[in-house]
């Protein structure tokens, strides 16, 4: 693949996005572009709107104002109604893998069925080919031996790796991670980070919300600090984490690195 040529193609565009819950304005005009093959990390204090922003990209939250584009296609379409919009958003979401803090694996399905359900039902992939794909993905996250095990029998780290494999099964153009390791015991964080790292090496476009400053710094191409629903500062991670311009960023990092 010619990555040089693709370098500046925007995959996710967030333009002046506003979102309120009742009287509480959680996003106050956010702008952000994630280019093809790039990894952008979002950090910020609790309640700053990081999850809301990520969920808005997947349309799990409906934004009040602004635009979100995935590979040039508008995600939010207030002009579309009912089933027409559902078809549109289902199609968009198939190109977007989402990984949740609490995994949200389907407990009634085995590991492999968790992964293959979407390709089988949505892409009409034959069961045999779907299983091959599932095994390949399980291999990638180091869990080939757990194919026929149910989620309840997996550790948190294993669950999250399966959840990542499940999201990858639809061959998404981008991956969204909302604090993928926050619910894990410290000793299980690394195995999930490794999987994310390997995705980074494969040039997957990723938007990552995280509390892990070290990981964000190592893996991302761009970092953004949010507070109170606005982007306080964004720049290369080397700069953001060691030499940020804004005082709010400095204070946040000081607190976070000391704790």
């Amino acid at each position: 693949m010619n990555t040089e040529r693709n370098k500046d193609e925007p995959m996710i565009e967030i333009r002046d996005v506003h979102k309120s819950f009742g009287d509480l304005e959680v996003l106050k005009g956010i702008n952000l572009t994630v280019n093809r093959g790039k990894i952008v990390s979002i950090i910020g204090p609790s309640g700053s709107g990081k999850s809301t922003l990520l969920r808005s990209v997947n349309h799990l939250e409906v934004i009040d104002q602004g635009n979100i584009l995935l590979d040039g296609v508008q995600v939010n379409r207030p002009d579309m109604k009912g089933l027409q919009f559902e078809r549109h958003i289902n199609h968009i979401r198939q190109n977007m893998g989402m990984v949740f803090q609490h995994f949200n694996l389907f407990p009634h399905l085995s590991t492999i069925d968790n992964i293959t359900l979407a390709p089988r039902k949505l892409k009409k992939m034959p069961p045999k080919i779907a299983r091959e794909l599932g095994m390949e993905l399980l291999n990638r996250v180091g869990l080939a031996s757990k194919a026929d095990v149910f989620p309840n029998w997996l550790s948190g780290g294993q669950k999250q790796r399966v959840a990542i494999a499940r999201a990858l099964a639809m061959e998404p153009k981008v991956m969204l991670f909302d604090e993928a390791t926050s619910a894990l015991d410290p000793e299980l964080v690394e195995e999930v980070n490794q999987v994310m790292q390997s995705l980074a090496e494969e040039q997957m476009t990723m938007l990552i919300v995280t509390h892990e400053m070290g990981f964000a710094r190592d893996v991302s191409d761009w970092a953004m600090f949010m507070d109170g629903g606005v982007v306080v500062e964004e720049c290369a991670p080397q700069k953001l984490f060691s030499n940020p311009d804004q005082e709010r960023t400095q204070n946040f990092l000081r607190k976070h690195l000391n704790s």
Binding site: F100, P107, H108, K121
Partner: protein, 217 residues
């Protein structure tokens, strides 16, 4: 008082026939009340108010009135207009009665499936209806098994009420035998033992099903 079980032995084939009729009714009612209950629950939770309101009324109606009365209403009420065999009335009455109770269970278990499950499915690209079908309902069903089992055990005992409208299940089958042999106690003891046995088998089945699905919860 002396017991004499010889009439029971004489009429045992009749009693077995009654068990057969009762079992047939129970199997059909179980199927109807579980499938119907699930449909009622899904519609009343997910479809708009106009459809769900009459369904809630239906649930309320069947849960607040006695089964026997419902059977009389159906049997003598419908009997005014059309001639239908008692066994159909019995299946309908018992079916609707337990459909209401099962719907009540499904409403609770469907609501107990976390929103995270819904969102995970939608984020993969499944639509609203597909998510309900592939993700929500199967999980709710697994969670419903203990209570469904209890309901079905009650339902089997309630098949005896159908004797009141002349369905030839176990209790009804014994009535003629009792009337000619004058040995009610002997028959009642044996019938009770038969219900007890059926009950034990159902409870074993329930335990087995719960164990088989526990790891999927």
């Amino acid at each position: 008082m002396e017991f004499d079980f010889t009439p029971v032995i004489t009429y045992f084939p009749t009693l077995l026939k009654g068990v057969g009729v009762g079992s047939l009714v129970a199997v059909i009612v179980a199927f109807m009340s579980i499938v119907g209950g699930l449909l009622v629950a899904v519609i009343s939770i997910y479809i708009n108010k106009i459809v769900s309101w009459p369904l809630r009324f239906f649930i309320w109606l069947f849960m607040t009135t006695p089964l026997l009365l419902q059977l009389y209403f159906l049997y003598f009420g419908l009997g005014e207009w059309i001639l239908i065999p008692a066994i159909f009335v019995g299946i309908l009455g018992l079916g609707f009665h337990y459909m209401a109770y099962n719907a009540d269970i499904f409403v609770a278990t469907i609501k107990s499936v976390s929103n995270g499950q819904y969102e995970a499915s939608r984020s993969l690209g499944f639509g609203h209806a597909a998510t309900i079908f592939y993700i929500i309902v199967p999980q709710a069903f697994i969670r419903s098994i203990p209570q469904l089992g209890n309901n079905m055990i009650l339902m089997v005992k309630d098949t005896s009420v159908l004797s009141a409208i002349g369905v030839a299940e176990l209790v009804y089958a014994s009535q003629y035998a009792i009337s000619v042999s004058f040995r009610p106690f002997e028959f009642f003891i044996v019938i009770a033992a038969m219900y007890y046995l059926i009950n034990i088998f159902m409870e074993l089945g329930q335990v087995w099903l719960e164990r088989e699905t526990a790891y999927r919860r």
